[in-house]
Amino acid sequence: MKHRAALVLSVLSLASLGLGSLAATAPRAQDAPATAPAAVAPSTITLDPVHSMAVFRVQHLGAGYFWGRFNELTGTVEWPLDDSAAPKFDVVAEVSKVDTGSAKLDGNLQGPSFFNQAEFPTIAFKSKSAKKTGERRYAVTGDLTLRGVTKQIEVDCTVTGIGKGPTGQKVGFECAFTILRADYGMKWGIDAPKGALGNEVKMIIALEGDVAKSKE
């Protein structure tokens, strides 16, 4: 009886040791031999207007820099979540959503001297190509249409993160570029009155959108 119990115990011990060593030596997912990931189709990311905006900066009277904002950007970004390809942007800003903190200044910017909202109600950017410049970072080339003038520009874009919200996955982007507003017919304050406003405008675009759920 004692021998039998000892035998059973030994067998059990050996079995548990064996299982433990097996567990220790079982290949983990991250130890799996590296293979090329399967290409993921680009996801359509629909911009959330509440969390998408653009800020712009221009020099005032050769002194300080004045910041303004375009609220509620809309549009889409096509981008595979595994970062296997560059994002493709199709973004629109409404001139009526310009926000400087001063209603009177907003009205001036919307008038014919600046954005001329009555004739050109939107500002749009549509990307054409991109090259990778780092981890989740791209130099995106595309067409900026402002005040009825379309010019090719290069935009430095970064994927800021992939998160999860109540409605599903969310992706964020941040892009920056600089333009000369005279190139788009917005010349007031450059030469007349001279030096009232700078020609160079720096823009930072913050985008956040919802990843479209894949169809079953």
Binding site: G107, N108, N116, A118, V149, A192, K194
Partner: protein, 335 residues
């Protein structure tokens, strides 16, 4: 000179001087005595100020691209640029109107009416601006009717104070443009107002000098019945001023981003009708002959417009900055 002073000189003062320089030969003999030339010359001078200010502000290309394709010009056409084209057209029309009315009394009346209708129809057809607008036939008819009304205001009630009436009307329009966030049209209206003042001063000085030069016995023969303003007789000047005031008011409304009440735009162009109101209290013949009284009536109208606008704007600003009282959603979180 500071940059701002240079800018104001370039877009307002210089165009006014250009207008005065163009009008000067028509204030002096022998051209002064050629009524057709004097009438057309003065009307042209006022429109030249508008165009000069436009070109200083925006260059020639916005006008040229309306007619020809310009190499390397990738800027789009903007509809308010038509104002410069309209000013050029009115300047040219002034010559045709003045020449066409050279006949007898009957033909002058018929030509005058035809000129008013043609000019009003022409500006309504060309002045296609966004917003208010003018894509529909009814809107264009409305603009044409408004132009006729504005022309009649200058021709019928601002006689004897033509330049001073234009000074006030375009000055008020400049202020409305400023209030609507339209810096471009502010300076264009300012230039036209300044030009009206400059030309009015020139005409008045010319009349005073002529009155002094005339012999005491013949002074009554040469003196104007109302020496406050000595704009040439004829319909060309009021047609040009009325049509331009109307179309500028319509464009101001179309591009307004700060919600200036619609009525102010129309009231500004129709300020000469204040002379009609003055006639309720003072005899019409006295009112129209005593140019100063008519001028004061128009000035009073501008003052009333300005005062009511200031009150309205103050009440708007007070309403916007009023703190939230009831129904503040944060209250439900306590504290």
């Amino acid at each position: 000179m500071s940059a701002i002073a240079q800018y104001v000189f370039g877009v307002i003062v210089l165009p006014a001087l250009v207008a005065a320089a163009i009008a000067l030969p028509f204030v002096l003999r022998p051209l002064r005595d050629r009524r057709v030339l004097a009438e057309a010359g003065v009307a042209c001078a006022l429109m030249a100020a508008f165009v000069a200010s436009f070109v200083t502000e925006n260059g020639w290309i916005p006008i040229a691209r309306q007619f020809v394709t310009i190499e390397d010009d990738d800027a789009p056409f903007e509809r308010w640029h038509r104002l410069a084209t309209i000013a050029l057209g009115l300047g040219a029309a002034a010559w045709l109107i003045a020449l066409a009315r050279g006949g007898g009394e009957r033909s002058r009346a018929a030509v005058g009416i035809a000129a008013v209708l043609l000019v009003a129809g022409g500006v309504a057809a060309v002045a296609r601006f966004p917003g208010v607008t003018l894509e529909s036939l009814s809107s264009r008819v409305m603009v044409a009717v408004f132009a006729v009304a504005a022309i009649f205001g200058f021709a019928g009630f601002a006689r004897g104070v033509m330049m001073w009436a234009a000074w006030i009307v375009f000055g008020v329009l400049a202020l409305l443009m400023q209030e609507s966030g339209n810096a471009r049209l502010t300076v264009l209206c300012g230039a036209t107002s300044a030009a009206s003042f400059a030309v009015g001063t020139l005409l008045w000085l010319g009349a005073r000098l002529r009155a002094k030069a005339a012999s005491p016995a013949g002074a009554a023969k040469d003196a104007q019945p109302h020496t406050f303003d000595s704009a040439p007789r004829g319909i060309a000047v009021p047609i040009v001023l009325g049509a331009m005031a109307a179309v500028v008011a319509v464009s101001g409304r179309a591009y307004d981003q700060l919600d200036v009440p619609v009525g102010y735009w129309y009231a500004a162009a129709l300020l000469p009708y204040m002379v009609l109101l003055g006639e309720v209290f003072i005899r019409p013949t006295v009112m129209r002959r005593r140019g100063l009284l008519a001028f004061l009536a128009i000035l009073l109208g501008a003052g009333v417009l300005g005062g009511t606008y200031a009150l309205w704007r103050t009440s708007e600003n007070s309403a916007e900055s009023a703190p939230a009282t009831e129904g503040d959603s944060l209250d439900k979180y306590g504290g």
